[in-house]
Assembly symmetry: C2
Homo-oligomer: 748 residues x 2
């Protein structure tokens, strides 16, 4: 469990800086210096090529491939709709010849290396000298608004070499994925413009234009899926060439090439590096003004949290209701680009209080994939809709039945997120037009998948796996039972409130929802079983958990980790060790429904059994620890939240960034130290400042107001840009806040 | 659950007869007319070719291939040693040309078809007329003693056609397996003699000689893995040609070709069709004299049980301690030729009381594969030895962790079988030299895999699947707990009895077995938990079973069967439906340890929940029903035991015969109607004659005596060929039987 920082970057509040080349961390740097704008993501690989291992990765949100040559299961309900986010074209391909000699990045031949990523512009810069001959600089930037546009800038400055130089700029569809080539079929290629290529179901088109202030001769070749424009120049003064790239995707593979050409040309004609730099500067100015988190007196976490926020807005900002948030964002191939229940559970709270439109669009993703969720429920011999464990396109992409057929937290997370979103935005329009239909189908799924026990005195879920993935095929998992109950209860509440509404009636007719069905659900909710001991106040994680063989998690040798690699597959499933919060998870989600004493009893019981193998585990524990006054533990758990990837705590940042953990870092600060509670009748805050910080500051977007919350050891200072329509509770006192500044003493 | 007879064969007590060709049952006939002699098996396919679907299958016991191109799991403990019995050469290949026209078996062009299989010789004969031109007869026979030798006889008798006829006899290694070619690489081929071919790890050599009384010209070609000898003849009188085939296998691929040639020539020189017919006649005379079962007044079951016994001796007679019994014997590709716990649980009781040497050799198979079982235990992070769920060579061939990592009945079955064998043979030599070492490793496995519950008051198995495969990942499965306990207890007993024995001490030293380890096991046995209710006398199948959602198995629509094809994979695992006996299974194995009242309580509780999806389930229920006086149920359960394949009750006889179900049929008659009990202090018998039979008779090989047991409505008549050294209890009375005949009144 030892998580040790592997620090090698400079500390700076607004930048990522690598001074000197760290060869052993080359792949980690590729991940860390990734750029993305929700639409596309590009790893910080070497445009000019690298002599050693590299992962040249460019990904588009929702562009996937279907695995071939796999042995499919014959069993019903085991998904055969597997798909993964596939590495697409490399539009930054460049090859440089000094005279006749090809220059590829070779750590042995360079000096003066430095690399930066600027959180205020999204510009990544890499510069170095080659054998005292010349200096070369590469810049990359993705336009945060006109997201189809990306730029590359190559600057070559002579030092002692003055002579011929050749630069060949390419669009390369010879992408490797999982170490193998051959994913893309070229459908048409033309000079400069469109190089269309397809996966099984989708297409990607990439066009570009070059802009250089120097004279040059150019020739174009299109061979082997590589569209290459070669410029022959003379290096007598600094050469600067901009490549503007336009990437267009077609998720349904139905558009004609001609439309892409038109669109590409239009976008290219109005784009330039300088324009994008200007656009981005404005974009980030507004972003930081509304979203910045300050951590004063802790330079490491300051840089860490800003990096998190930078990557988070890059991964998702609600551009499209057909996009989602992969566990690794758009920065690598691990987890196959899939979105998990993390999107609803960790990301929606962040967006809900920073960018509610984005929160809504994440929910719309689920609405738009409701038909797949319906099919999935049928595959499982159930009614309604079952949302996938892992997906890009709405289909279940996980073929492990023990997860995909037994875990229902993605489904309940959608219902919870609808409830949470509507409660904190009052967006009844969304509820009626989209939320209600999802809720009906989710409730139907839970109603049909649940079973009565032998004498029909208890209702609940048999043969399930809760959020704690170390307990498989259990009965009456408290989390599953509770969330199924709240999902059905919320439907009943919405049904009772809005059943006279015209749109709601339309949905009821379409889905043939009758009173009688609601009554059946009501009875199931009444009999929903929650294993709970009145005297100890402890909820049993599932029926029989208390009597499981005890494993002292501290007795596990460090060399046994990660357990999935070193333990026999079944071994984690037969003791009281916990992977990630399960009972404590629902105490976080429904925080206001459990008193402090109950939380304490359950925290004290479950936390010592938890190994936090999921990177999403510590934040929930930190939040509860804050509430229980376990301030040291709270800060310890927070310890590696903001710098998980920067310091490579999990030793796998090379594979891509832990994007949804970034959301968990935000949740950790705002719900933990800030004490936000958003599941009750009224929004609550009860911030405190961790001992080792001097102060911190975060923002909340609440019912149209932006509230800046500044917390130091004595006071919290709230700055509102507008009157707040709804009351808010701060340290158990209810306020009606107007535009302006409020100062309130920190409670103890 | 409706099992309906699909009868199409004639009824005969000593033969299988198909009168007229049943085209829709062609593949079923191929299975039913299979021949085998433990060493090899050959399906009753068409030597001359068939215009429609056929499965040309020839298999050698223990000759396997390793699957390629499969996606292997990265999880530890999921077996990567998969292997399957691979279809080998077709040595009966023959092509017939009438003039220039190729004759392939075509149902449209033939008449007068008949086919027989003679249980007294093992000779299969197939004869028919072609368009009134000529009559053709094919005979096949495998030598039951010189098991490398097989014969084919082709007889062509002119009717109206007199002219040239060409017969081409081949050895064909272009075998299809699972519908695909390409399994064998030819290493050398010579005229007439050896056509050697290899799989990944093993080799098969086939030689032959032709014997004909007619003049002929012959030419040999060896092309495309087909060794073909073509004879040009004149059909003026009946032509009869015998092909004698010798098949030699090399399981370790180390022998030189020259040795095979020598051995093949030697065997061929002394073999002939007539000699084998003579050998087999003698073999079966002796076999039936000692093993025949008569069922008088029930011609269907009479033919059925003789067919069972015929196929059983063909599959296994104890020739080699490196052979085992596949679930489908050597008759098809289903179940991949794998041996399961059926070998110990259903087959060993049969051999133990008919051919004890064969029972011992089945145990020696486990001794010979102990090292693989040790490795398997290690893969599972356990000590000792864990025997595979499915295997040909001792390695675990099942890559489904939910079976291979959670089911331990193969391991406990080995311990039980050692105990059962030694108890009923007094073969302490075997116990000391082989059994003890296996017992130590088995007990070690159970000691290390088991766990104490939370307060360490109970010991047992967490995360297991018992014999009932409808309950996965359960805790304290009563069968698993009890059999682990008896396995460890038996080791302790043997240890205490023989620890002064030199050989035992040698093993103790080798395995570093100490008193202290025995004491730990003793404590685990003492605390082994068996969920049991004193008042109801019901053993709970596993902790929590009683409270599972109830499913009325009669409410399942017939169209839902087989459930594995129509239900979502997880659905069978979350109710109280049972696939096959679990609690009732151990009440059968340790019959004398449970009183009638307890058996009745458990039978009445569990049987109505059982759908008997395993073909091995009904026999155990029939035996218990007999004991409980449920005579109608007992006969109903027996109903399709003897004719499961003949009447194709399971609709899948085309894939191969249910060989281990055949063993279960023997067990059903002898333990059920015969009332044999062999798990107590003394062998017991309490036979009765089912109402619809007039009488029946079976044999028991007991401590060197052969006892013929004849049962009619009034009496049982015991005929002993030797004095019986041990006492025997018949209807609660103890007898010391001598050579001779005893008549005892049937008890009510």
């Amino acid at each position: 469990m030892a998580k040790i920082a592997q620090r090698y970057l400079d500390i700076d509040p607004w930048k990522l800086i690598e001074s000197g080349f760290h060869e052993d961390r080359a792949l980690v740097s590729e991940s860390l210096f990734s750029l993305s704008n929700e639409y596309m993501g590009v790893r910080g690989y070497f445009d000019e090529g690298y002599v050693k291992e590299t992962l040249i990765g460019t990904y588009f949100n929702g562009i996937y491939e279907i695995p071939k040559d796999i042995r499919r299961s014959h069993y019903k309900g085991i998904s055969d709709k597997l798909h993964y986010m596939v590495n697409a074209a490399n539009p930054f391909y460049v090859r440089i010849y000094i005279g006749d000699e090809l220059h590829i990045f070779d750590p042995k031949k360079i000096e003066g290396y430095s690399r930066t990523l600027d959180f205020k512009t999204g510009e990544a810069t890499r510069t170095y000298q080659v054998s005292n001959l010349f200096e070369i600089t590469f810049k990359k930037i993705l336009n945060m608004k006109t997201y189809q546009i990306a730029h590359q800038k190559v600057i070559v400055k002579p030092i002692t070499y003055f002579g011929s130089i050749t630069l060949a700029f390419g669009i390369d569809f010879n992408t490797m994925h999982w170490g193998k080539p051959g994913y893309w079929d070229l459908i048409e290629a033309k000079k400069n413009l469109s190089l269309g290529a397809t996966t099984t179901n989708q297409s990607v088109y990439v066009g570009y234009k070059l802009d250089t202030r120097s004279d040059y001769q150019s020739s174009v070749t299109i061979e082997n899926k590589l569209n290459l424009e070669t410029l022959n120049l003379n290096l007598n003064t600094t050469i600067e060439i901009d490549k503007t790239i336009v990437s267009l995707i077609d998720k349904t593979k139905i558009r004609d090439l001609i439309f892409f050409e038109e669109e590409a040309n239009k976008l290219l004609s109005v784009s330039s590096y300088d324009q994008t730099l200007k656009d981005n500067t404005k974009f980030f100015e507004e972003y930081w003004a509304k979203n910045d988190i300050q951590i004063n007196g802790d330079a490491l976490n300051q840089q860490g949290i800003r990096y998190c926020l930078f990557q988070l807005v890059g991964t998702y900002q609600g551009v499209s209701e057909h996009n989602n948030i992969g566990a690794k964002g758009l920065t690598g191939e691990a987890y196959s680009g899939h979105a998990f229940w993390d999107s609803e559970t960790y990301c929606i709270p962040v967006y809900l209080f920073t960018n509610p439109k984005a929160a809504k669009n994440l929910l719309m993703f689920r609405y738009n994939t409701l038909s797949q969720a319906r099919k999935r429920a049928k595959e499982l011999d159930c009614n309604g809709a079952c949302y996938p464990i892992a997906t890009l396109n709405g289909d279940e992409a996980c073929d492990l039945w023990q997860h995909a057929s037994l875990q229902f937290q993605p489904t309940s997370a959608v219902a919870y997120a609808i409830w949470h979103y509507v409660k904190n935005t009052k967006d009844t329009e969304f509820l009626i037009h989209y939320g209600f239909e999802m809720l009906v189908e989710i409730a139907r799924f839970f109603s049909s998948r649940g079973q009565y026990n032998h004498d029909e005195t208890k209702f609940g879920y048999y043969g399930v796996m809760g959020p704690d993935e170390f307990q498989m095929m259990v009965n009456h998992n408290a989390y599953t039972n509770l969330l199924a109950k709240t999902s059905m209860e919320y439907l009943i509440e919405v049904y009772e409130t809005y059943q006279k509404n015209h749109k709601v009636q339309e949905v009821m007719n379409k889905l043939n929802l009758k009173d009688s069905e609601i009554e059946v659900m009501r009875r199931k909710c009444q009999l929903m079983y929650l294993p709970y001991d009145e005297t100890t106040k402890i909820y049993e994680q599932h029926e029989g958990f208390h009597d499981l063989p005890h494993l002292d998690i501290h007795s596990i040798p460090v060399t046994d980790f990660p357990l999935y690699a070193n333990w026999s597959y079944d071994r984690i499933y037969r003791n009281d060790m916990i992977k990630q919060p399960d009972v404590l998870m629902f105490m976080f989600l429904y925080s206001t429904q459990f008193d402090l004493e109950t939380k304490k009893a359950n925290y004290d019981y479950y936390e010592p059994k938890t190994i936090h193998e999921s990177s999403l585990s510590p934040s929930i524990h930190s939040i509860l620890a804050s509430e229980l006054g376990y301030k040291k533990e709270a800060l310890d758990f927070f310890g590696f939240a903001t710098r998980m990837d920067l310091d490579d705590y999990n030793r796998n940042a090379r594979e891509g960034l832990h994007i949804t953990s970034i959301a968990a870092a935000w949740v950790n600060i705002v719900y933990g130290f800030g004490g936000l509670r958003s599941d009750g009748e009224i929004i609550k805050l009860s911030p405190y400042c961790p001992e080792s910080w001097t102060s911190y500051q975060f923002h909340l977007q609440l019912f149209g107001s932006n509230i800046q919350v500044y917390v130091d050891k004595e006071n919290i200072t709230l700055t509102l840009d507008k009157d707040l329509d709804e009351p808010i509770e701060i340290y158990h006192e209810v306020y009606k806040l107007k535009k302006g500044i409020y100062k309130i003493h920190v409670a103890n």
